[in-house]
């Protein structure tokens, strides 16, 4: 069990191209050449991380600036699940 919370980041700007489609977001990831179709809040999380890397809690704060977020604890857990998904897809990296 690590003591410092994980820091997440994306690989610089310009790694992904996004286009809206039917209320969803198409994401083209340049390094892998893979196209993803994502629903909120994944695109918003990516945007928040593009500004700068951060822990899950920091990302949550950035997201609450623009959006209505629910109960804090649940929201953080939900966010961590989304971040794990993004990491497994290769769209987000854990800083080492």
């Amino acid at each position: 069990m690590t003591h410092d919370p994980a820091r997440y980041g994306v690989d610089g700007s310009g790694t992904i191209v996004t286009r809206p489609l039917d209320g969803l977001t198409l994401i083209y990831h340049r390094p892998s050449g893979i196209t993803h179709i994502a629903d909120s809040p994944l695109p918003e999380i990516l945007q928040a991380l593009e500004r700068a890397p951060g822990t899950a809690a920091e990302v949550l704060t950035r997201l609450s600036e623009g959006h209505e977020i629910g109960d804090d604890e649940d929201a953080l857990e939900g966010l961590e699940t989304h971040l794990a998904t993004l990491v497994s897809l290769g769209l987000v990296r854990i800083a080492r």
Binding site: R30, P31, S32, G33, I34, G90, R93, R96
Partner: protein, 331 residues
């Protein structure tokens, strides 16, 4: 013969001035079949080339660039998956050439990701990859047992979602081969190119390419391999160091042969060849104007040789017998 034309053009691009449509069709077919089309495109960048050929070569360059991007991504994914090992991942072959920005990586089609790990960490590496979405390509227990006991790599793994293969090596030639390179020495001399990623030293890269081309296999794709060796040799500053390394890995005669073949085919063309060298040349230049491999007897001879290289005769017989009984035949 188109293969002959191909090496002539690679050696001296201005040769294409004399090409008519028949020659061009044959040249493109041979280059494509030998996976040298994108390399040919780079060589002919400034030459006078018919528009139709320009377009075909441009497509090949697009493909090579895409392959390179994918290879680098697969290397990244492997590095992430193997991070808990605590040791850097050593890239081999095409992915290494591209990741290290080498001339040998230019215009290269890549295929599988090849990496090298120490033999005592092999099982851990396997477990980590399986946990991160890779799975076995074949599940045949005889093949699998054979692989683990005698081969220089794990049985092939493929990523479930990305559909790309990874070959995890612990040395660079099968354990049953006559030549036994020094795997710990390869690892010790490796060079870091990015965080968590290494490649073999310039001398060891040549040695690996030599082992792959001349101490293993039946020379399928040999022209591409020889071109790689030619590019890698140009990167080596210290020839004495290279000779020493080749000696260490048992590859000194292979180095000498590769040098002669590369000079004969890609350099001045006047290098004196031994009689066996001439058979190699015949095998390497087997493509006709339709991109097919000719010289069936020479090819068969190299096929037999490839099995003898890998195994002492007793083991070979037992292996072939087992496969025969299972309904396999050598293709």
């Amino acid at each position: 013969m188109s293969a002959r034309l191909l090496v002539n053009v690679l050696r001296r691009p201005e040769t294409v001035a004399a090409c008519g449509s028949t020659e061009w069709n044959g040249l493109v077919a041979a280059a494509r079949a030998e996976r040298l089309l994108a390399t040919l495109a780079h060589r002919l960048e400034r030459a006078d080339v018919p528009r139709g050929v320009r377009a075909v070569m441009a497509d090949a360059v697009i493909d090579a660039q895409r392959e390179q991007r994918i290879a680098l991504w697969e290397a990244d994914r492997a590095r992430e998956a193997l991070h808990p090992l605590g040791i850097p991942v050593i890239l081999l072959k095409g992915a290494a050439y591209v990741a290290a920005g080498l001339k040998a990586g230019e215009g290269r089609m890549i295929g599988d990701l090849d990496i090298l790990v120490p033999r005592d960490r092999l099982e851990e590496a396997e477990a980590l990859l399986l946990a991160e979405g890779w799975e076995w390509v074949k599940s045949d227990p005889y093949d699998s047992a054979y692989y683990r006991r005698w081969m220089h790599e794990l049985p092939p793994l493929i990523h479930r979602e990305r559909d790309r293969m990874i070959d995890v090596h612990h040395t660079i030639l099968p354990l049953t081969a006559r030549v036994t390179p020094d795997a710990p020495a390869l690892i010790a001399n490796s060079v870091e190119i990015a965080i968590g990623l290494r490649v073999l030293s310039p001398e060891d890269r040549v040695c690996h390419a030599l082992a792959h081309m001349l101490a293993d296999g039946d020379l399928t794709g040999g022209l591409r391999n020889l071109w790689d060796i030619r590019c890698l040799l140009a990167d080596v500053r210290d020839n004495a160091a290279l000779e020493k390394r080749a000696l260490l890995h048992g590859l000194a005669p292979h180095l000498a042969r590769a040098r002669r073949l590369a000079e004969y085919l890609f350099a001045d063309g006047n290098t004196p060849l031994t009689l066996p060298d001439r058979l190699y040349v015949r095998r390497l230049l087997s493509r006709d104007t339709w991109g097919r491999e000719r010289h069936p007897i020479t090819r068969f001879a190299f096929y037999i040789r490839s099995h003898l290289l890998r195994m002492p005769p007793g083991l070979l017989l037992r292996h072939l017998w087992t496969k025969w009984r299972k309904g396999h035949r050598p293709s």
